[in-house]
Amino acid sequence: MRISDRRFALYLMAPAALFLAVFVAYPLFRLVADSLFKISPIAGAPRDFVGLDNYVRAFASEAFMGAGWRTLAYTFVVVALEFALGLGMALLFTALGRKSEVWRTVFLYPLMIAPIVAGLLWKFLMIDNFGLIGTLLHQAGILQNPNQIGWLSDPGIVLFSVAVPDIWLTTSFMCLVLFAGLQNIPGDLIEAARLDGAKAPTLLFSIILPLLRPVIAVALVVRGIDAARAFDTILIQTNGGPQSASETMSLLIYRTMIRFGDPGLASAMGTIYLLAMLGVAFFAVATIWRPGKDN
């Protein structure tokens, strides 16, 4: 007997759906459930139902609100710089045409590097005393002494320093996506604009960027969501310090859970963080992607 197409499709999707239900949806359910309890970190200790108390504590805590703002600032800096650099490189590769293809490939290499390795590498470059960046800037006469800027030890700038490896790792991705978009801009259009006497800035702001809008939107959303979840690079560079100045949401939740042994509070923070991310995701999907309608 032949089963209906609809049922056949369901059977094909069932294993993956089951997997995601068990290993993503259920842990999320556990997270939300845990957020309603006061939990002792000692295994087997009693759990007390406290209702929304953990949420009240989260919103009342300076660490949580601080981490929220830092996550926003971090995400903004990472995505903005990546976009500017990625667009610059994409335009450069486009202007040079297919002879730059080899270099376009080489330019992708940071994408294959583990974030943990990138974090370590940049920590090594920016670290006080034997960090190379301070030394090179000193030798170039820009800094009076190699340790003048405490890239990773000055609370005022550390949030931007820890963003560097993230930017370095994924500017290639931005470049790649924008490059693909640039290839679809009709050449006739550019030539026509050039014949009309359009200069480079006009070309960029009145023609290229508006035409790239959908691609830009997708690239920004994908990267924004990843940057807001950044963990590895920051943990390895500063562990959130000094004085929590580089503690973003992922780190705060991790530390609340593991170091400070408060799974209930950490779960509440995680739930709020998750809802914020999903809110952004839904908004982005509804306004930009509209999957299934792109044909």
Binding site: F19, R98, S100, L108
Partner: protein, 352 residues
């Protein structure tokens, strides 16, 4: 670079054509690349550089065939003037040096003597080249085991992702049922979940199941990351396969499952290779789940690298050596397979 020999030039030209479907959205452009890739790989092995396609017209072929013009024949956004092009090449060279330097510095440092790695002021090149750091790093307890763990975890996770994602993506794209639409949205939303939010509950579930500190548990965790991406990638690849293909097969007496297995899967083998690479990389480079879910037995190399800085003080030399050993194979592998990866990466961005 401008004097590249002809076969390579041809390959670039073919690629340039594939990248240049005019008046089309990104999605279709990339789908064109995807189709071409999968079509061409149907017969060949899914690895290695793509063969040049002689049938492909190469309208932009300059250099070898025609007499050289003073000004490069530019079209669209390509720079035309010779001086502009030279200037842009210089800018590109500077950008490549800056962008490539950090990793080169990591390599140079790994060949320094342990004392030189933290010399003040630091030097770029080693004063004395030595393999001491490599011997130290690889000789350390648990390091080689961590490589095996990393490889094991990544392979299991990749296979699991493919086994689950390929049929699911096929079900979504071929039958377009409402449940399929809901499912692909759900998969997309899964991509937004911060790993830190599910890491701890997942770890305790694995412990309950008796899988604590095993590569299986970690590869399941990694699959929660790679599965949604794999479903999205595979959906795009299936989307590019014409329906007639398996209709013809079913008319010839194939069952739907048989048509999928014998007709469709071979056609999308290129896409499966791309998806596999992404799933592998996601697991190979993952750190947070590995940190939460592994102890001694199943520790992967990223965790070992991170532990170097606490456990053994600041042993930068060994750390750079280990980081180099861990990164270079995947960099080489992916550079070799770059055409597929570029197609997949752009697809992934556009689709999920």
């Amino acid at each position: 670079m401008s004097t590249a020999d002809t076969p390579i030039n041809d390959r670039f030209a073919a690629e340039a054509v594939a990248y240049r479907p005019r008046h089309a959205g990104v999605v279709s452009a990339i789908l064109a690349t995807g189709t071409k890739t999968s079509g061409a790989t149907a017969g060949a092995a899914p690895t290695g550089a793509m063969p040049a396609e002689p049938a492909m017209p190469t309208p932009a072929a300059s250099g070898t065939g025609r007499p050289r013009r003073r000004n490069h024949h530019a079209e669209g956004l390509e720079a035309g003037k010779r001086t502009t092009r030279i200037l842009l090449w210089i800018v590109l060279a500077a950008a490549m040096v800056l962008y490539g330097f950090p990793f080169l510095y990591l390599l140079f440092t790994s060949f320094k003597t342990p004392i030189d790695t933290i010399a003040v002021p630091p030097t770029i090149l080693p004063k004395e080249w030595t393999l001491e750091n490599y011997a130290n790093a690889l000789g350390r307890n648990g390091v080689l085991a961590s490589f095996i763990n990393s490889a094991q975890t990544a392979v299991i996770s990749t296979l699991l992702s493919l086994v689950l994602a390929v049929p699911a993506a096929y079900g979504i794209t071929r039958y377009k049922t409402p449940s399929g639409r809901v499912f692909i949205m759900a998969a997309l939303v899964t991509r937004m979940v911060p790993p830190v939010a599910i890491g701890i509950p997942l770890a305790s579930m694995m412990a309950t199941a008796g899988l604590a500190d095993t590569p299986i548990a970690l590869s399941i965790a990694h699959t929660t990351i790679s599965l949604p991406l794999s479903i999205w990638l595979m959906s795009s690849f299936f989307e590019a396969v014409p329906n007639d293909l398996e209709e013809a097969a079913t008319v010839d007496g194939c069952s739907r499952l048989g048509a999928l297995w014998r007709v469709v899967i071979p056609v999308v083998s290129g896409g499966i290779a791309v998806t596999a690479i992404f799933a592998f990389l996601a697991s190979w480079n993952e750190f947070l789940f590995a940190l939460l879910m592994t102890a001694i037995r199943s520790q992967t190399t990223p965790v070992v690298i991170a532990n170097f800085q606490t456990q053994f003080g600041l042993d930068w030399g060994s750390m750079t050596a280990l980081a180099a050993v861990y990164s270079i194979p995947v960099i080489l592998l992916t550079l070799l397979l770059q055409r597929k990866i570029v197609a997949g990466m752009t697809l992934g961005a556009v689709k999920g």
